[in-house]
Point group: C2
Chain length 382, copies 2
């Protein structure tokens, strides 16, 4: 195998663009000087269109989970009743955080691989009008489902005063997001997915309605106190030492997104999803999710007649193609292909061609080139 | 001024070695694959000698403050009486975190620029035997004082069952640390100081005694739950997505420290401190701290007859030399020179020579070369 060649096709971490690598290599600067202020000032307005908000997007040094916890400890007050919509392992993570913070945690469990139906939330909120916060996942990384956030926001706000918190970690930057228009109250993402950076930053934006709750929330918090970030951002600064190398990279990521045009970025992700799904269908490889609920950033495959773990090992060893396995209850039962961030339709063709050869290698009957042809047709007929 | 040349001489962030930059540029990998396991397994034992412990050192994605908060939420139980020793703004940060978490917070306030005397802690603990945790700072970044941790640990453990938590953010990796031998219960550091990395990682180690308290502590916590990190580290993994690019860099930082030899690294920092202080004395520039309490990693200067802010601006503009100002009550009253991490005695000579020219530029009477000569003499007579 050609040394140092990696095809990283998991739903995060994702490949880093060369110009972003170079940007992160910039000579280190002081974090309280004018260069750092200029950097933060330059980044600040350009995150808003990606979230679809007029609000500031806070940047915190930490994993995506730190972002989820930021939402929980800032908007949920002690003893609040909250509702978590669980469509996979990251919905489950919200449950664990809420339970760790001793919230009265209601759960809607959706079979993994399906999206929640807004009517389920509607019915639940009618029965439990005292729920203060609804937590849900936009793209459920573990299954490749994209939950209908616009419709969810609509039922939540029609029925209650509850805030809607959305984990957008594995899709924001690769899908359309209209936080303000839809009525999302807190939206979170991470750096290592569609935003094309290494892990280490989490991003959190809050609506006016959410800020009101945040400011009155007596819950103890310090590092993840969103108000501290908001206060310092007014001076183009941060309350704690920022992860500067990642901010250097973020600045260049925003250049790349603006150069392509954000609506084109969104279209590219939609196209990559359609190419991947058509290829799988052509090859007779069963998809975990329906066309209507599939995420543009990640596709899960649930093989009936071959071992997904043996398949993943084979393509990794022979081609350096890294695919993701299943998590928790789906462990060993599915594999997942990431197609987000620094990934193009051409990369999808390459991935499909390696997928076909991997299937051949593990002894599955496969018509070579058939998946590639299906994906090419999607590309050419768009 | 020569473009792209920066002399970053603040007490963190510090310059990044070129080989560490290159290491961070490595092609991104999956965070749950064998490469990531190998990386973590390779790093794990090599952090221990830097802390001076046989315990595992947990690596968390976040700023140094996230590390301080990790200590507070893991070892201090709700309603505990705790004692914070404040010798500057980072001692003060411990106070703020303890107060945010509604601990019964006692404070020993030491004049900024002085070290705490172990007898002060001894007397306080005698009067307040119910104190459960003592928080103190090793190197107080804001003043350049190195507190006598060995002696503090001795009085704390002689007198009480209290745990001793030490903020080592601005010195660990540049000073001798014997966590186990001295009896430090929790030791914290950050990546962007003596460890020569960008900001974004914090490191926390705990003693057996501390682990016992941590495991019985009912306080809600999730992202900063130290037990989650310990559990996953047994499998060479992490509970949440690790900041992989910084871990690539950390691996190479450890190579550099081992190549030089850690005891040599410690000697180099001691030498740079002595060179800097001798130069300041020769130039008649008053030092904030005494020789006995000065940190090997940062030197604070309290000018009597010139404006420190005007001086900092001048050396920044003309030479690209970034020095740190004072914080909180010392704002505008001092400036600070960082000499840690990727900084050599040769760099100290350069810094002193620019400091002399800066003093000349702002109109202070200065004998050019006198500070450099004093620093050279320290180097040659070592």
């Amino acid at each position: 195998m050609l040394a140092d060649q990696q095809f990283l096709r998991i739903p995060g971490p994702t490949p880093i663009p060369p110009s972003v690598q170079r940007a992160m290599n910039q000579t280190m600067i002081g974090h309280r000087g004018q260069e750092a202020k200029d950097l933060i000032q330059n980044i600040r307005p350009r995150l808003k269109p990606i979230f679809g908000t007029g609000q500031d997007v806070m940047v915190i040094a930490g994993s995506g989970t730190a972002g989820l916890e930021t939402a929980v400890v800032n908007v949920a007050q002690p003893n609040d009743e909250v509702l978590v919509v669980v469509t996979g392992s990251f919905g489950d993570r919200f449950t664990k955080i809420c339970e760790a913070y001793q919230l009265q945690t209601h759960i809607i469990n959706v079979p993994w691989g399906e999206a929640v139906q807004p009517e389920q939330i509607e019915a639940y909120l009618k029965q439990h009008p005292s729920i203060k916060v609804v937590f849900t996942t936009f793209c459920e990384t573990s299954t490749g489902v994209l939950n209908p956030i616009k419709e969810i926001a609509s039922v939540v706000h029609q029925l209650s005063e509850a805030l809607l918190v959305v984990d957008g970690v594995s899709c924001i930057g690769g899908v359309e997001s209209r936080m303000d228009e839809w009525g999302v109250d807190v939206l979170i993402t991470g750096s290592q997915k569609a935003l094309m950076l290494p892990a280490g930053l989490t991003f959190v934006a809050a609506s006016e309605r959410a800020w009101k709750v945040i400011k009155e929330n007596p819950r103890p918090r310090f590092y993840l106190n969103l108000s501290s970030y908001q206060n310092k951002l007014q001076e183009d600064s941060t309350p704690f030492t920022p992860a500067l190398s990642l901010l250097f990279g973020l600045d260049q990521v925003l250049n790349l997104i603006e150069e392509e045009g954000f609506s084109e970025v969104v279209k590219r992700h939609e196209l990559m999803k359609n190419m991947t799904r058509s290829a799988c269908k052509a090859l007779g490889v069963p998809l975990l999710t329906s066309d209507e609920t599939a995420s543009p950033t990640v596709t899960a495959i649930k093989p009936g007649d071959f071992d997904s773990e043996q398949f993943r090992k084979t393509v990794k060893q022979e081609f350096g193609l890294t695919l993701a396995g299943g998590q928790q209850q789906l462990k060993g039962k599915i594999f997942r292909i990431g197609h987000m961030g620094y990934t193009s339709p051409s990369d999808v063709l390459q991935t499909i061609s390696l997928l076909e050869m991997g299937l051949y290698r593990i002894g599955k009957e496969v018509e070579l080139g058939k998946g590639v042809a299906a994906a090419q047709a999607v590309y050419l007929n768009q």
